[in-house]
Symmetry: C2
Subunit: 630 residues, 2 copies
């Protein structure tokens, strides 16, 4: 492993490292698509100690950082895996918009973070030129991104072809159309129908393409970003690298405050996953933090600024219409979306319709030219159990459905953001209404949290809701960390949030019947049953924590092959007992011995038996107690 | 707060403390039932800083340990709240069975933990004498335990009477019969129907009665216990006190190895919650750990030993019949229940039916005489996603249904244990089958874990399944800690497991529509919206962690009243913006100003509008781009 080259201008107090090297017990592998040397799909391969066991390949969003000999130079940025594909498509190179002092929140010279020095051309499609994945798909064209996604999603399905239909039938996907095998044509068709998006700005050539859609594996997003109160540049890059290491499929940079333009340049140039932002945050910074000073010009300027940098999707709160604002006044927690509250304030103060809604066509035109996907923001999502599924929330969702169709007409890719705080019994109707209103455009939810009473554990209150809504059809789950409602997540919180959401997403994939999803569970369970401790650790979502927990009570290396653990000790290990048992049963079968498998007495039979016995008892004189003398 | 008096014979290395004193931000209160000075029901009361807010009362299983001036002497044990009630019922005092060396695993004198010196009489009911809560209920008699339970469960429902029916209608309880208000008669009826149990051995007078049943609040159990590898006596008492402090409703002592009789005496005498055990563990210790040496005599002797000590419920794996054993041989993880594997081994080795099954009537007679409740063990529960809902598991469940009816006929209280590892889409059928087979006897499940891929995070993989199955109707959820599959939980793990399961249980209560369940969520959400940070922390399931997380980034006291937090900083706080917004909307309404609430344009209207525009466009010549010159 090579030490990463770090930015020259590290702000004071930044961590002096970016995490590189393979995840414990595994290595990065790339599979080249036959006949396409330019399409190399990454996986993480976990080698097992038992020679009878195949190595297990898992989906890997971590990028080059986890290569064994990773050569990382943050100043140069990652290699542009999409560069040859985009170059071929012939978009004009444009002179980028000049960076203005307000882009970095008027940071004083001594506090200004230098931008990432990596050089990239800036491209923009002309009107009428095919540019978004949606436009290509509608035109019947399979892009390299679609081929990449097909191979990536197919993970191990080749080996499962014979069982795939049975697996799908065994699952329950609530009307989704998960395929037995993913072809590039299937991906194209899903994108063309608007049921999936491949967020990939033509100016983010470093992206390893991925899909977000109900018929693909459930994805997760991690939020990073500094705020006015805390956090800094290199810290955010490390948070990006750290969160994709543990499985984040996309990352949202929610920075506010100073230096956000330049911090973003470091993030985007060094990110192999799609990056999302909420442009209204930066627009607000530019007008000094007063929502009432926002206008279309500053917002438009911000969209172009970020689109040129390469942001892959924008949260646009265009569904917060003036008419909905009064519906929130009597809520227990009002409006809890930052973007939503900003726009509501703007609308109400001037008694005017949202400029995001009124200018939606123009927003589409700007985003289309770079293939920035829409993430239509749920500015009126409930912030408490009490406010779940109310008129404000569902009114906005209907407007998002309306806007989805406008965006499609304009050639844009669209997903829809969802709640929030919702008790378990009100989750399903959210999914059903979203599918109906938004024409099956991918749903992207924040949790939802299933109770409000556990600050400090909201990764868990929301992990429950996330697993459920993922099963019902949500395509991407935005993580919640233990610090939600309390503070900014640190490195440990980010990891806990990501792992919790990988659990939720994977539990959803299993329940939907994704053909190859259970392979990892089965491999881990076999390792557990065989007491292959190292394999059990390495197959875990977090091998390091699994190993550390085991070692707390049984640290000696010898115990890694021990046929028991500290929970039950050697005598009480059910696994050990059953291994003996299994050998015994199988040997008996082998020898042709008859095993007693008579059906168990049914309740009816037993009742009949008891009735007979009771009659017999009465016939014998019916004494309940027999004299000692008898 | 008084320092607790600790056992004189603390084993080496034991922690020198038992945690006492109120949970942060709250105090213990007792409410005396009108006209019954002997029935004082405990709650925890959280005072809020806003004088307009009522203090919030929450269910409290923590016993006298959390009193402000708790006088705890572990040598004396807790006061016997049930002593006068039991004394009045007139059971014979019996000479307890003499303690034998094997009861403590033949611990050598220097390693023998002294028994708890607290003196208690041992009682036993005569045949025909009413003793179990089930028998009293069937006889139409309302016991003190039932009155206690009714008041305890009613928590805040008095204040909610008008909204109760609406709350119930808003929830979804899958056919349960959650009442608007809990009367002692309702409790009696539920117990008489076998739909609820009140585990309360007549020799455990220290128990504060509680109910486990689908129409009551969902309960959680925490497992403690030493194993041959690690852990000791006072450590286990502290684990008990620690787990009930955070909300465990019952505790199972799963100790194996030496000193288990004497450790148990410390636990039971100092426990205000029902204690469960798995007697086959101790029976196996008595025969030197070889399952084949087990027989009815040693098992029976163990039942009596533990019933006399005061254990409130026994896990009995009587459903593991010989016929089912071969069904487990081809499973991915065989048998993962310790008790199940022991009995399977015993059955198969001699090709004989389980003595637990064959002697079930006698087991009932022993347990009835002390009112030890059955927890019919699921010895064949699945240990992996691959084995969920298979023939072995469901065959055993059918047998448990058969045995439930036998136990009821014998006058015993019964609950049924359930899985285990089950993917989300296969959870509901477990609940439905259990209700059907077992005549609505309470279900008590271990999770279930919804995926196998996250050792180190199995509190979360299982918390998801637990919340769901709790919603569907499971009456008690057995916790899983982060150490599951890896090692014995320490103090932190126990707390994490308990809090995770309190989340699952509470999320289930909310979804079922329990009339007063949402009061705490609402109070916390209001505190959040009002920036009452202290109230938000104190209303949390874990006030200490919530406060610590907040203080990591904003430690100054001034920030506790700050109208923002470190997540968004002062400018971007949606809550702050909405508070202004709310004031504005309400002022406008007050002033009679018309607020724009015109309905949003529907999709159809918008389409019609676009069509009109497009016709207009065509009528105007239909040029897509206008010449620059024009």
């Amino acid at each position: 492993m090579n030490a990463p080259v770090l930015p020259k201008d590290l702000p004071k107090g930044s961590p002096q490292t970016v995490t590189t090297g393979p995840v414990t017990g595994s290595r990065k592998v790339y599979e080249t698509v036959a006949g396409r040397e330019d399409i190399r799909v990454p996986y993480r391969q976990i080698a097992l100690t038992d020679p009878k066991e195949e190595p297990v390949r898992v989906y890997d969003a971590s990028g080059p950082y986890t290569e064994t000999d990773a050569r990382i130079d943050l100043n140069q940025g990652l290699p542009g895996v999409r560069e040859p594909w985009i170059a071929k498509r012939g978009y004009a190179t444009v002179e980028p918009r000049a960076v203005k002092p307000e882009d970095n929140g008027f940071a004083a010279a001594d506090k200004l973070v230098a931008p990432c020095p990596a050089e990239r051309v800036v491209r923009k499609a002309a009107p009428g030129q095919l540019v978004t994945q949606y436009e290509f798909a509608r035109a019947g064209i399979i892009t390299e991104e679609m081929i990449y996604v097909a191979h990536r999603e197919n993970l191990c399905r080749q080996a499962m072809l014979e069982q795939a239909e049975a697996k799908l039938a065994d699952g329950d996907s609530f009307g989704a159309s998960v395929p037995a095998f993913v072809t590039p044509e299937f991906v194209r068709d899903e994108v063309a129908r608007g049921r999936a998006i491949i967020p990939a700005n033509i100016n983010h050539t470093e992206v390893e393409p991925m899909a977000i859609g109900r018929n693909f594996l459930v994805k997760i997003n991690a939020n990073i970003g500094n705020s006015a109160v805390t956090s800094s540049a290199a810290e955010e890059v490390e948070k990006l690298v750290w969160s994709i290491r543990w499985g984040a499929d996309t990352v949202m940079d929610l920075s506010t405050g100073r230096n956000i333009h330049n911090i973003r340049s470091w993030i985007i140039r060094n990110s192999p996953v799609p990056i999302g932002t909420v442009p209204i945050y930066q627009a607000l910074e530019k007008v000094g933090g007063d929502p009432l000073k926002l206008d279309w010009e500053v917002f438009k300027d911000t969209l172009i600024e970020q689109a040129e940098q390469g942001i892959d999707y924008f949260t646009i709160h265009a569904g917060v219409r003036l008419a909905y604002v009064p519906l929130t006044a009597r809520r227990v927690t009002g409006i809890v979306s930052r973007g939503g509250s900003i726009m509501a304030r703007w609308c109400l103060a001037g008694h005017r319709e949202s400029f995001l809604y009124e200018r939606f066509d123009e927003i589409c035109d700007i985003m289309r030219a770079y293939d920035v996907s829409f993430s239509l923001g749920d500015g009126l999502r409930p912030g408490s159990i009490a406010d779940a599924n109310d008129a404000a929330q569902f009114g906005e969702l209907e407007t998002l459905g309306e806007l989805t169709k406008v965006a499609w007409d304009k050639g844009c890719q669209v997903m829809i953001e969802g709640p929030g705080h919702v008790p378990m019994h009100k989750i399903k109707v959210n999914m059903e209404k979203q599918l109906r209103e938004c024409g099956e455009a991918p749903f992207y939810t924040l949790g939802p949290l299933t109770t409000d009473v556990a600050p400090g554990y909201d990764h868990i209150t929301s992990g429950i809701g996330a697993a459920m809504i993922g099963w019902f059809g949500t395509a991407m789950l935005c993580y919640v960390t233990p610090k939600e409602h309390l503070g900014l997540p640190n490195r440990d919180d980010v990891k806990t949030g990501v792992i919790t959401y990988k659990i939720a997403a994977h539990a959803a994939d299993l329940a939907k019947g994704h053909p190859a999803a259970q392979l990892r569970d089965d491999a881990l369970s076999r390792a557990r049953f065989d007491f292959r401790w190292e394999d059990q650790f390495n197959l875990a979502l977090d091998p390091d924590t699994a190993r550390a927990y085991h070692d707390e009570t049984l640290p000696k290396d010898a115990h890694k092959v021990a046929h028991f653990c500290s929970m039950c000790g050697p005598k009480f290990c059910s696994m050990k007992i059953t291994q003996d048992l299994r050998a015994e049963v199988l040997a008996m079968e082998e020898a042709g011995e008859v095993i007693h498998t008579a059906p168990v007495m049914s309740s009816a039979e037993r009742e009949a038996g008891m009735k007979a016995k009771s009659q017999e008892f009465l016939a014998e004189g019916g004494k309940l107690y027999v004299d000692a003398a008898e």
